[in-house]
Symmetry: C2
Subunit: 129 residues, 2 copies
């Protein structure tokens, strides 16, 4: 895990204290999801090497995989030019999406419709009771 | 270009009328940048096949490459499970970043520092006068 001092200083959090974090599969480069982090959950992510987000809907800390077991281990961290978006390369256990798909971006726009063409890797009914 | 009807209906714009849009290199899968779109610039993006963002700092339409020539042609469009983030696969001319790097995520966190290890593909002083 990379250390965090310069990174934490360089991140610009928005008016709600959040920064968007993109999670990309370290092996395949598939974009898995985008969610938000607070300074606190970013710090915890860097310290533990596991992705910890902030749920805007629940207004709560959200340690990815705590319920499902589908954790994301941090392999690398990147920051964009403006310092207001993070890109994490992660090793994803199981699937990133609560719907059971490997990636939250499992729908593709095609001919005026949305086609679910992603890879379903678990049964959400069996994971989230 | 995929048509847009179902996609436009399915997108959830935030309180400011914006949706984050991730641009990923269609050839290499490198994540190039993340910026925002309004419903209007998303519609224009889908109709023209060129990425058109909304600049939050300038509060203005931002047709990528209009000044620099570094356009992004849309190859595919994906929507996430919540409908609040878009993922575009694009063919990037030149570099995505105004600093001259191929990707805006040209800095990597390492040993408590930020290291610029991205590929610089143009001289920003020569492009933006």
């Amino acid at each position: 895990m990379p250390a965090s001092d310069a990174l934490l200083d360089a991140v610009s959090f928005d008016a709600d204290g959040l920064v968007p974090a993109i999670a990309q599969d370290a092996e395949t480069d598939q974009v898995l999801m985008m969610a938000y982090m607070t300074e606190e959950t970013l710090r915890e992510t860097l310290e533990t090497g596991r992705m910890v987000y902030w749920s805007r809907s629940r207004q709560a800390r959200w340690a990815k995989g705590e319920t499902s077991g589908h954790t994301q281990a941090v392999e690398a961290v990147r920051l964009d030019c403006d310092g207001d978006t993070l890109l994490f390369k992660v090793t994803q256990e199981g699937g990133a999406c609560h719907t059971g798909y490997r990636s939250c971006f499992y729908r593709r726009a095609e001919d005026g419709t949305l086609v679910a063409d992603g890879e379903q890797v678990f049964d959400p009914d069996a994971v989230y009771e």
